[in-house]
Symmetry: C2
Subunit: 432 residues, 2 copies
């Protein structure tokens, strides 16, 4: 997106891509007879940038299937439900009150400068886990918060700063929007997969995109930058780094990055996710009146959705190992991950889930050029101590990547926001 | 230490040192007429490894001066005191009870596997800040905890996992020992400076030590390792990486590090410290009955000590910017740091502190080969989620550095412990 914006402004651009493909944290693969997403997948209301771009590029969307009863496996018991999860009335009331209060606080956090929130220091001294323990007394409500936090962040509540959590919620329009299918961030998938967006952007850039060219170092001089790769150097007037901060910290910089920026790159680890897709002869769960949505607090797959193709020609389920469960499986071979995923699906949807006709997964934690997923996260203290360094250009180096967005941080829409903003920074400086 | 242990076992060793000097986080410089420490400085009781090694290498120690009244600047007021800091009786009682309770809990954390502590998950879900707010009601007691945490960790209480905090306390024998001069970790300095330890170790290793040779990548093969540097490659059967985990994450590995190890390197940032030394014609503070020790919650220098040479031939003060105050100054020029340091000293010890005859400081945050200081820290969630990866060898790669110690983690003594342990791992495997 940054490259496209710059090219449109008349600038000369080279895109250095570490992988042998474009798409970053989106990746679409052939599985069975269809293309399925092993990375970023959905878009939803208010994500106007990605929606507009998809339209323009001719990538169509379709609604995520959610008709039927959902499954929840909690503390060893499996139950199905239609609207609200099967917890006690007390838990439900408690949670509703807490979430309303949470969204109020989230709205008080300025997304362009979360460290300026009135209670920034207090909230950045807490984990989400501590907020949960303080705000909620019932096990039912606490469990639901765990489920939501893992689903949205691919991390445990103990890993997240409460201020970062509120900032992230606000950037996406609130917890309800982030966690919903219809009306929320999981509303629609792309026919043919999400990676097409990047692929078509890259087509438009043509020879400017150089694959398999990881950047080793960035040198700044008076008049410009020199970017070194194993395939030779690139020189230019400015450079935009559009990778997660933790990976940006692994590039060598001459002169070194400002001290605070370096500290930031040490303080924004990636979440932990393994995404698993299983293809079946039939959408057997739909026959039993199930939606394909499932949450679990013990199974390796913490979260599942129906992943049938848009026209129903292929039946599939998608599941996520998240946070602790992803880390438990991140060094195991695919066959064990597959077994764990199918077992999880079987517990939620019935024994037929064991007999898939095809299976694929993506262990984002071992992806060298992602370092985890979905996104960079902040533990307590990082945002108030180093947040200012997140977007501030360092000489001729500008920062993009969804972590630097101010709307829909962590999502495809945020990545576009960040790319455009970084490109505009450069356009302005080139015009001087 | 690792190299020395290996050489003693008969192994052939090369030490690749990124800097143009040995010593890492110790650094001794000429200032005025004496050598002063701008990095690691003190040792104390139960630090038997460093004490024994210093004796053996002929580096003598001398007691840290602490006679006289201490200074405490709190909430804008400066006061002096002899034994206990000038807080209300209520604060003192509250703090004493809390610290006793804290040390009990610290002792329940096994230093070789803190994630196995009975309350590991609960404690790793909290920050030290949250513990403080929960356990202490009086402002006086809370302020003293801030002072102690900053002094021991070079970080704010909001940045630290409570489990990591307890682990670290236990590894050093408790909070009292870590924060004391006589009887504690600041008991004795080295005549001629702490860097001599590494220098003399290096002398013993002779040509095996190659300076200015940062490691770029480590490749593992069936029979051994290849370590690439800009000055050429080294091949060997095993490699010991003795740098902080966050910096170890910046080396390129082929094959990539195990996924959990990579996540760990994203989750162990360095603390933030700038160490400042000012030399004076006279130890004027001693004349006023002051010890040279000072604590402050607002001045850039959070902590100060007398830094006169062992024989009294040169008068000096040493001060630390820590955590937030270090980050506030980490991108400013030396002249501003100097001004801030001298102002802080003047507030604590009187206007004569402004007229130093020599000044030097070390901004460890901008030190590329340290990335901060004193040591690698863990935010909530890191120890329970990734702690196992801290010391576990990855094929032929073994991990040293004070962060991997089980006694006196973060101290010189811990670095020796870790180096010896890693070397012994290799010796065992070489003997097979």
């Amino acid at each position: 997106m940054a490259a496209r914006t710059l090219v449109e402004s008349g600038a000369s651009v080279v895109v250095l891509e570490a992988r042998d493909r474009v798409g970053g944290r989106t990746r679409t693969v052939e599985l069975g007879s269809e293309r399925v997403d092993l990375g970023g997948q959905w878009i939803g209301p208010t994500q106007d940038r990605i929606r507009t771009l998809a339209d323009e590029l001719g990538v169509a969307t379709f609604p995520q299937h959610e008709q039927g009863r959902n499954v929840r496996a909690s503390r060893g018991r499996v139950a199905t439900y239609r609207n609200a999860p099967p917890v006690s009335m007390l838990s439900r009331l408690e949670l509703r009150r807490a979430l309303r209060h949470l969204d109020e606080r989230a709205r008080s956090v300025p997304t362009s400068a979360p460290w300026r929130a009135e209670n920034a220091v207090e909230w950045d001294g807490m984990t989400v886990e501590m907020w949960k323990r303080d705000a909620l007394r019932t096990a039912g409500a606490r469990d639901l918060v765990d489920v939501m936090v893992r689903s949205i962040f691919a991390a445990e509540p103990s890993e997240l700063s409460f201020l970062f959590f509120l900032f992230y919620l606000n950037a996406g329009g609130g917890l309800e929007r982030l966690s919903s299918v219809t009306g929320g961030a999981q509303e629609r998938g792309f026919i043919g997969g999400a990676q097409q967006i990047s692929e078509r952007l890259a087509e438009g850039l043509g020879q400017r995109v150089q694959l398999e060219t990881p950047v080793q170092s960035i040198e700044q001089h008076d008049g410009g930058v020199r970017v070194r790769t194993a395939r030779g150097d690139c020189i230019g007037r400015h450079v935009i780094v559009a990778i997660p901060p933790t990976l940006a910290g692994r590039i060598e910089y001459t002169p070194p990055l400002p001290a605070l920026r370096d500290q930031l790159t040490q303080r924004m680890p990636m979440g932990s996710v393994i995404k698993c897709v299983a293809v079946y002869p039939e959408p057997f769960w739909r026959r039993s009146g199930l939606s394909g949505q499932a949450w679990s607090d013990r199974d390796p797959i913490r979260l599942a959705f129906d992943a049938c193709s848009h026209d129903g020609s292929q039946a599939a389920l998608v599941g996520f190992m998240l946070g602790r469960s992803a880390r438990e499986y991140c060094e195991r071979p695919e066959i064990e991950r597959r077994e764990a995923a199918l077992q999880s699906f079987a517990r939620a949807f019935g024994p037929e889930a064991r007999d898939c006709s095809a299976y694929a997964d993506q262990n984002w934690i071992e992806e060298r050029w992602s370092g985890g997923g979905y996104t960079g996260l902040m533990p307590p203290g990082a945002l108030t101590e180093c947040g200012e360094a997140l977007r501030r250009p360092c000489g001729r180096i500008h920062w993009a990547g969804t972590e630097t967005a101010t709307r829909w941080v962590g999502y495809m829409d945020g990545a576009l926001d960040a790319g455009e903003r970084a490109a505009n920074e450069v356009v302005k400086r080139l015009a001087r």
